[in-house]
Amino acid sequence: MSLARLLVRAIVVSDTRSERLPDVLAAVAAQTQRPDLLHVVLPADAERPRTPEGLEIDWVVGGRTYAEGVDAVLAAHPSHPHEYVWLLHDDSAPLPDALARLAATAKKRTAAAVVAPAQVRWDDVSRLVGLGVTTTVIGARRIDLVDEDDINQGQYDERDDVLAASLAAALVRRDAWERLGGLEPAYRGFGDSLHFCRLAWRSGYDVVIVPAAKVRHAQESLTGERGGALRGRARAYGAGRTGEWIHALSWSPAIAVPFLVVWSFLSAALRAVLRVAQNESRMVGADLAVPWRVLTRLPRLPGIRARIRRTVTRPRAVVRPFLVGARAVASHVRSREMRAYDRWRAQSAPSDMVRAELAEAAIRRRTGLAALALAAIAASVALHGTWLTALGSGRMLVGEALGATNVSLAALWERTWSGWDPSGFGSPALDGAFSAMLLPAAVLPGGVRVWVGLVLGLGVAIAVVSAWWALGAATRSVWARALGALAYGLWPLHLQAISDGRLGAVIAHLMLPWFALGLARAAGWHRGEAVGGGEEFPARRHASPSAAMGAAFSAAVIVTAAPALLVPLVVILAAAGAVAGRARWRVWSAAVPALVVSAPALVAAWHAGVVSRDAWAILARENGPALAAESVEPWRLVLGLTGETALTPGLPDAAATLAASAVGIGIVAAAALAALSGRAPWAVAGGLLTAALGVLAAAASQATVVVAADGAGQAAANGFAGPGTSLAAAGLIAAAAAASSRLWAGSTGPRRTAVRLVSSLVVTAFAATLVCVVVVEAWPTRPERGDVHPSDATVLPLVAELEQELATRQRALVLTDTEAGVDYAVLERAGTVTLTGRAQRDAEGAALAGSGTPAVTPETLAPVVATMAGAGTGAEERLVTWGIGVVVAAPESPMIAGALAQIPGLHLIGASEYGTTFRVEPEEDTVVARAWIESSGAETVTLESDSRSGPTRDAGGAGGTLVIAAAADPGWRATGDGRALAAVEDAEGRVAFDVPAGVDTVTYAYVDEGYRFWWWASAVAVAWAMIGMVPLHDRRYVAVRR
């Protein structure tokens, strides 16, 4: 205990961006023990605040930073013995007895370099903000030793030694300050206290905290409120994290420095993903910027470490007891989360009575969902049960539009990654979104065959359950939700799409309810559970950012599956955002992934003329299976009638039409009732406008030819009205459901009786209608709506398939006898596959993503096929030029099999129930391949390939021409011995490169940089939406933040 009196020099440094400086000065003036000297450091031409009574202030002109200000004062005034510096911020106001307590402790603890007070909230002195800081053993993550906003009940009064404390309003020994060199400038104000205190410990000093001494600290730098900027929190966070890393790099052993730098990058990436999931987009940037900021400060690191080495006297073990491990970090994070959860629950907990009603409603709801799910699955099984059993026995669904569904993961990946569509003779693809959408199905066990089959077979059930969830946002009545869901699931055009195998329309129909649900929750328009007294729980619904991401993801999937819905969905999101109030940016941002995924089509439509039929044909393109369908009047579409409404045996025409349109009539009638009733006007208006957009989209789709006959087996087709009518039906059902909300419980007296009676009748009638619809649709002798049926998973004879799988990647030509002649198809894989998506072509047959000239298609093989069908010789050499190594005569085509048997260039290799297979071998030892090097003198060198590239292979050294049996396009690149090869014209329209003599190895690939850029952009956008969809921290933090 020293009897010498302390000299306290108080230094207040201000940059005049805080408005609390006068309060600080007043607090200093109110101290029981006033500091001996008071310096206030201000910038050069700043206005001086009013000096409180009795205070002598030495005004000093300061530098840019806090440390420079302090150093300026200390430089001007030499050191006294027993001098302590009281470092005050311009937002730290000590309570009256603070300095006395600090000085008392300083007198007792002479070895203490820092004597720090407890920091409390500026506006509520009972809540602690800071009471010491420690850090982790590895990585230097800063851990506050007190929970934020903890109520001070004296629980920390015993604390004295801590690793570090904030230097705001702390007493620091002058000689220690000078020996340790003051604050380290490399931290730029964030984390320099921790560094100073740790250095103090290692240099033989102590750091003591005095819980009884309280200082009101507003932490303006930390919260980023300095200067009134509310967005500074992200920047302050970034600066703080950077400071933590600099601390870790400075204090860890030298060998760990590179690992820590790498770890900072990894940690930043993980945190960024977490921020995306939490839907805090500004913090994503801050987190990703942290490692780069650390890198920019790395040059200072050797200096910092040198200073540390010079100053320390004690070993690391001194500090070790203060450091905490991973478990402390985990419990710190956990207690923070629990606090927020508790606060949210306290704010939003329902009362007991309400809780009982909510429990009842939950039971009703779950029973309804279970019954509905059973009914939906029963309907699906009744309609398509044979498909499900066939899938179980290993067969696959096929159809004229659907093609073969056993697509491999490799095929889907190559198609989406490369931007080259290999069907026919290949062509550049506009986008690879459809095959990317099917990638998860290929990865899951069972493959595309099983999952596409399940989507089609259970399409009705999935649509019903999805619509149930979505209608929960419009009304909480179990009956209304169930009926609306069943009406949506049994929508006739959805059934038509399932039977036709139009996978795109089916997926769009399944995802629309999720989009609607996401949109409703994103703007906070969803209904709460009805509780007694006409109220809802929760009384005020919050907009949910995760729901907005869910809507974004659903919109992206819908736009991939049914591109015709892009324009309506964007219009809906724009309009919804305009009326969404505070959630408008979130709602508008939901359109971003959909627009990014459709970017190539938007660019192509722009080039085709912004408002023209061609542009609309591009926007309404069909990515997946397509079929020509009859155009139907719009009013029929609204009622769900298609051109091919199948007749029901036993019913006259009119009755059959009525039965087919029963669902549509019911929906329209319900929507009309909703509009007339005047309830929920905004929701009803929104639903009717959505229906209007849907009808327009449907009519415009079916009036446009979206698939041109491309000579690779695809017939011309117009757009399908299904997705547009799905949107219309969704809008009408939503309008009806919203208007029916609280109908049962609302109104009183005779009106209530009437309402309840009428609604009971309506519900019964509608339910009966739906049951009748299912019965009529599932009637055994009714002709099928479409042609999807289960079939063997083998399409081509095994011999032919094996030739396609070889490294030479031969193509197969399949010939079929028909009454009108001979049908032929050039197959890249077993079966025509439309599930990998379509390379879009314009009306002249030029690929939209290509250079504008029509590409070579298998149409040019028609004379060759005719010659072969007539048993003429000499045509099979042309097959070799296009890499067709196998000719298959389809089963039950004896004429074509007989004709092919006579051709000497075709050798029979097998006959099975799947067809008769011939190998193309015009001369002895001809190897047919996808790519080869031919030269006039030397032997032909065949190369290995996949659908769009070839690995580096030995070229033989003789030179020649590298010929690739694919349609020519500028995107093909070939390199020989590392140097690019020059492209040459090929008479047949193939890709050809000139290989100079002496080149040993060649490789080639299709490369499209623009496509690659689009691919990564849309992958990032969709991944962002998927991660943001996870409902993390949603309701709780939003509630307690506001």
């Binding site: 509009a675 005047g678 327009l696 415009a700 030819v705 028609a862 005719a866 048993a871 099999a897 006579q902």
Partner: protein, 306 residues
């Protein structure tokens, strides 16, 4: 109030959308036009069946006059400039035409037999032969093309279509013979249809008759015309011998026969109108009539004849 306006406006917009979209003009998807082209199929060689064979084989009696065989045989096969290549017991000619002539002096199959080489075909009718006692019908199938073929032979007799069928697979360059008395015995008037896959097959029928121990003639039956509603058979009637017209309608028909000579239609006292049961082979005797040279048989459908 404003809420009602909003709902009304939305309803009007929805109905308006339905009306407006009805006015959208549409394009129809055009199906792709099929390709029609002319094709010349590869020319197949023509083939001949080879020498006549003795139905019962070589049987030596003590007396040369009683033996079935004969040493006095002359056989010539001509292929013209292209030359002949062996095809089983016969030959093929890689040209347009060829023929073979054979003369046997004594034995069971004494006589003169000539056959012309024909190209393979997928569907042909052979009308001729008999498998009753004393008659032998030997069907020779040749495949001069480079592809395997499978031939199916269906038989028709006086009682209609017969149940027995023969299916023969012939490799490229193979020849096969079928003794019909082992397949369809005791059929007095025989007609057969041969359907083959691939390039088709060349079929010839060796028709041998024996009158006790005396040879009653041997000849080759070649391919006949396809069934049609009007057929002309030349070389019937005449002052030298009687002729028999063998007629068959696979689906049944009514046939009327007209005999014409150098000077026009010749009246003859035989049957002029025939009602043919499906598949029944009918024989019509044509007497010797002066100046008769050909016979025509109009009206529906079908019958190859002899």
């Amino acid at each position: 109030m404003i809420r009602r306006v909003v709902v009304a406006a939305a309803a009007v917009a929805a109905i308006g959308a339905v009306v407006v979209s009805a006015r959208l003009g549409g394009e129809e998807p055009m199906p792709a036009a099929p390709f029609s082209g002319e094709v010349t199929p590869a020319a197949q060689p023509v083939a001949c069946p080879g020498p006549v064979e003795i139905p019962v084989g070589e049987i030596e009696g003590g007396d040369p006059a009683l033996g079935s065989g004969s040493d006095d045989r002359t056989y010539a096969g001509e292929g013209g400039a292209a030359g002949t290549e062996p095809l089983g017991a016969g030959f093929l000619v890689r040209g347009d035409a060829g023929a073979s002539v054979e003369r046997i002096g004594a034995g069971d199959v004494a006589g003169l037999a000539a056959a012309s080489c024909v190209a393979p075909t997928r569907d042909q009718w052979l009308v001729g032969g008999s498998t009753t006692l004393g008659s032998s019908a030997r069907l020779v199938l040749s495949n001069p093309s480079d592809a395997t073929t499978e031939a199916t032979v269906t038989y028709y007799g006086p009682l209609g279509k017969l149940e027995e069928r023969t299916v023969a697979t012939l490799a490229a360059g193979a020849q096969r013979e079928i003794l019909l008395e082992g397949v369809v015995p005791e059929v007095s008037a025989l007609a057969m249809r041969i359907v083959a896959t691939g390039a088709g097959v060349v079929a010839h029928l060796q028709d041998s008759r024996l009158d006790g121990f005396q040879a009653a003639g041997t000849d080759w039956v070649g391919r006949g015309a396809v069934p049609s509603t009007s057929l002309v058979v030349a070389g019937v009637g005449g002052a030298e011998a009687e002729s028999t017209l063998r007629i068959m309608a696979p689906e049944g028909a009514t046939a009327s026969l007209t005999l014409t000579g150098e000077d026009g239609i010749v009246e003859w006292g035989g049957v002029t109108a025939l009602s043919l049961e499906p598949g029944v082979v009918t024989e019509v005797e044509i007497p010797q009539v002066e100046g008769a040279r050909s016979r025509s048989a109009p009206i529906p459908p079908w019958s190859p004849r002899r």
